[in-house]
Symmetry: D4
Subunit: 224 residues, 8 copies
């Protein structure tokens, strides 16, 4: 009757199971993390607040905590020889309040070994800001766009790039934003063809998907 960690996932899906930290006790998280580490799998834990991270640090001292993104990583010393190139992803935010979700995406990409470029605060109300920075993400394999309120930014980004755009609606806003539903609907109804959507505040998922696209585009056995 214990947690049944999906230790086989790295083989089937390319990356190990990630631990969703919300609603789990530090003890449970530590136990699952240890199971993965014992099998030589690197660990990512999401949705961990500062208090829980402190408790966890006493059990698993080598963890790296990102307070803004609320993530924990345990990297394996041997994984990812620096020579192996694993692609490039841009993470773009509409406003400064969207940063925590962007950080969750960024940490996920770091954990996957993908290069990340963060472009902040280029929302549509200042429409000249995005074109000014196009060059910074022109060569991306995939783009993550994080936006709250009206969630318009992914459509605009989608109109400028040739790679897939993974849009993350955030719960940032007030009034009729309904905890992110407004941005979610905007993104689902995007008139740009290259925009896919993940759940509200799901920085991890968008980062993971972008990371999959990027790493697979650079598989050594590919591109023949």
């Amino acid at each position: 009757p214990d947690a049944m960690v999906d230790v086989d996932r790295a083989r089937r899906c390319g990356f190990p199971e990630v631990i969703f930290g919300e609603g789990k006790s530090p003890e449970t998280i530590a136990a699952i993390a240890q199971q993965l580490l014992d099998r030589g799998q690197s660990v990512l834990v999401t949705r961990v607040d500062a208090l829980k991270a402190t408790a966890l640090a006493t059990m698993l001292p080598s963890l790296q905590y990102n307070e803004l993104g609320r993530t924990i990583r345990f990297d394996l010393p041997r994984s990812e020889p620096s020579s192996e190139r694993r692609g490039r992803v841009a993470v773009i935010t509409a406003g400064t309040s969207d940063l925590p979700v962007a950080e969750e995406a960024r940490e996920t990409l770091n954990w996957m070994g993908v290069d990340v470029k963060l472009v902040q605060d280029v929302g549509v109300a200042g429409p000249h800001r995005l074109p000014a920075r196009l060059a910074e993400f022109a060569e991306s394999d995939a783009v993550v766009v994080v936006a709250g309120m009206e969630g318009a930014l992914p459509s605009v980004v989608g109109g400028y790039v040739a790679c897939p755009v993974f849009a993350v609606p955030t719960s940032v806003g007030y009034g009729a934003n309904f905890g992110g539903v407004s941005a979610l609907l905007s993104m689902l109804n995007s008139c740009a063809a290259n925009v896919a959507v993940v759940n509200i505040d799901a920085g991890f998922k968008a980062g993971y998907l972008a990371g999959l696209v990027a790493t697979r585009a650079h598989r050594p056995s590919h591109g023949e």
Copy 2:
């Protein structure tokens, strides 16, 4: 027990009552229109399909029907000496499917005696299209922006202009657009400060509000 037309509205509100044509019989519309015309007030009827317009034309031959916008106008010969300048409004659409709603706005502005500039099909998925046409509406007293799907255009327009933007969500789209709710929420949550919103498909209201702003900005007794 008859319709109680608000014949006093022109005095109180500046323009006569407009007839909402949906769900009214041609006879009822004709009767109300006649009451207004008898008092020397020009008439605008909205939401009139082609069939009803044909029936009405037999009763009130001088009507002007706009099939796309589904509006009818009866202009008074004496009103609006051409010398009186009444302002300038731009009506901007995201896609070609938004045109019927834009036409309703345009006819309303015509009826109010306001100059209209129509800028079509400049939605955000082709983000270079709007900046290319900024000059055409730079001098507007107010702007009406009509958009369906993700409804992102008003926020972008709002970022370029210094006048009020009246945003009209349209029911254009499919799936999770919920008959225009997606665009409506986008517009209500716009991060641009100068964007006000009207009901879904409410081209008349946006046109009327923009027209009010424009005509009042050019009142002869003003600007001292």
Copy 3:
């Protein structure tokens, strides 16, 4: 990777970018405010609770805090010579609980240099109260109406005035008011033609739009 303030907005849109204070640390707010002040732009911060205001006061001593409206202003000494007339706006509330939102609107208008007349507690359940005070706002360039619960007041006000009405639904109420959705839908479905709507509790936006209409109606170069 820092906040990318839209310092060019005053030129494009007529007024500087306003800082949305919710979810930003005092340090972030102070940094953005300083960037604007350094460029000679006056500053308005919204959604600042008393605690955050106290923290900010230690960094930027000259700020003016409105506790009810939760706004902060830094006026520039040189701006707005008193001789320049900038229009007149009425802010009308349905009940006493709507006052905080009305105060946000009023402070925004003050920051824009517009005259404000506040008319309180004239909701529709005491229908004789509004007509008794019509004279106080008859000459307004625009009206802001703030109402919760059933949100009926803007329609009634709209029936009495000839200028645009910017309706703000508030989250005041209980039960099936759904945090302001009830009032929001009422206002969107208003049978009065001159009623535009902003987001729930968006006193800033309504004030800003009304202020735009008022200031532009009194531009010196206008009214020829």
Copy 4:
């Protein structure tokens, strides 16, 4: 396995069961009506379109059909001696499109033997219209108010009268009215204390409730 008409209801509840005509075949309606008539109970059928009414007329020739209100009545010759006074109810509509629902209420009140005063088209956008007609319904035992769109009228009426107000939201409107939900929420959130609500388009129910209040206020055995 047949319909189990509640023939005992007149004794328990004061009035016989009313037949909801929608989704029932003419044959079923005729059979139920006959069961009631056989027991000396007068019959009211609601939601009957013209086609079904025609079919029914061939089976039960004495029926009285109201096409606008979509109701059928079979009055009993002996019921309601004219000397028996049964109270007075006003039925008030916001716009001309609300008339069908008002007619359903009016026919229900007729069937109950209650005097009805119909006051039409006095919605809030022409706010001077209602006060002008207050005298016509000042003496009512109860008031039915029928309104679509923003559904503001019941609150205003509630502010003028001392009797219960039964508010009926109608599905009249478009866009974000959601088939009457906008008006329903307005009425549920009314700031007037004397406003009770029935289902969308439920003219029958509002009429029935108002009729109950009126008839019971005039029971001979009462008022001691």
Copy 5:
């Protein structure tokens, strides 16, 4: 710019304005209450928690606080000579958790001078309980039914009585009850013709409406 109490309401509507205590400071409540008391009007305040009531008691010592119902009353010494009969209302609850809302209704009826019979915990899952107590409320002028969860009780009560039923949905429940929406919809869709609905948790409104019906049914000048 102060609160504009509707002191004329007792004349127009039969009872004075009632103060909604939520979101108002003790000072504001005391000021409004004093305005009413000064004009010889009895006072009812609703939605007052224990803390606010304690604060108010220091300002207005004669108040009567009902902690469960969260109401405050100030009765006038001279009002309601005991000889004047003002009708009878039953307040019925489905479960013990609905009691606070029932208490709000009961206090409102007390304030109106109406006799109240409270029948508790007779919800439909123990269907034999209600019929066993029918005699206790058979002679009521109106019935208030308070129920959460599936909100089925008003329909059943409506099937047993000949007077109007005012149904109050409560926010009692969990999961898909959506804060009372489940019960609200049930009540709006009641198949019983004599069921009117008020807002979620609106014990005051249901009590007030039932009180209006009861007091008016026993007006001395009536029942001729």
Copy 6:
């Protein structure tokens, strides 16, 4: 690339796959039915309108069509020796309009070889009707309750019986019933512990579940 019928389901789940007829052409239905018949499995098709049934009858002449329930059955001659007892289920409806959904449940139970007792039109507005018929379903192994509008009946039935109740909300009603959502929420929030719920209008599912309970309660190998 053809339909992949789950022919193994009878072995895994006790009964063969049932064909959902909506949105499938007569040809597709006939092909799937033939695959099942070829393997000696009896066939049930649901959601088949009269037109499609006629078309199917030309391809598979031995079918039995129930027009009200919109179901088709092909019974196998050899299945179900009459000596094998398979339990007893009651199907109860609130109103006559709920009959089509009840018929779908009844046909499903017939197909499973379970005895069905139909009890119609015993909704809560005539609360004396259900107790009068309790004896007819006291011995049931499971009960299916079908109700629209406020969906209160399952809770009341649940209060009288000791077996599981499978509640089916129907889309019968109007206004705020939202196509059955009102009844669905009522049933999910039932205060009776023995009420499980299926989808709106899902007569098949409720019948199937009740049939599973009944047949398994009478398995020969059981009850030791």
Copy 7:
């Protein structure tokens, strides 16, 4: 005016009334529990947090508290002779976070005297986990499946078993899960025929229904 416990329920429905602990004071719960115990009925209380349980323990010392499931039981010494076999139910969870709801179901089944097998953490993202454990619940009389997020597990379980599946959506998740609505809708729309649904987080109800099916399948008087 006291709580009217349904002490007759054990006779009518097979098991005594269960006490919903939320929103009830320890005193009220103790009083109701004592009424049941005095009549020789075993007691189950649900939704009791640790604080309330501690308070209750001082009044009713013999209680058994399950902190995770938030339930309290008082077993009667004489009930349930161990020889009486009462069936077997499996409780299956998708993730470790669903455990509290599963525990509520398990305690309910324990209280009913039914054998329970708990199978944890076999959600669909690791699709090989469920088939690996099929044997553990192959012989169940009924299955309870507890899942949050997308709520897909009941459909998959339903495809493997021949007994009824009672699906419990949990509020576990974030973003567009809407407190369990996402999982609820999934389960209602399950393409598996043997899946019935209960309210969000309603572990008690699913346990009770599964327990009813199991105990009744093993009644000594049955299976002839």
Copy 8:
């Protein structure tokens, strides 16, 4: 005032603008298509019913119409030399009713020059069907999963593959599926990390995104 086709999109985004055919007249579609063809861009039109396709065929004879998928293609003779490999995508459906949406995805992929493998009718209620066919899509660069009702299939597929999964909710279902919202929420809340979502019935978008991933993974200039 004409349609402003985004002819530059092929350069910016890799593929030309696709024409959304719904709500456009055959004339408008033909005109836009011609503009693209004139610039040597291949054309894809979506959402074209049979009638409109027939009309279009008279104007642009070389079109290829897919009736099930409702798409039209005009391939350019010179594009796509067969030697250029462009990747491999699997399109998987839960049920046969999801085929039209799958066809839209498949045609889009054909138009992009990507190899497509269609795997039909492997929904979760027959859980053994999917594993049996894993080999057919093991080598995919991306997977499109199309499912209605509870929308569970993408999560299961996501648990088996290492590439991105683009999930398309369909409006297939009834009752509480709300036109695809049930499936949409399931997919957004998927516990599988590699699942991205597009709008309801948006076969085109999912196909386009999968096609982007596939073609870019096989760019000749890549994989160094």
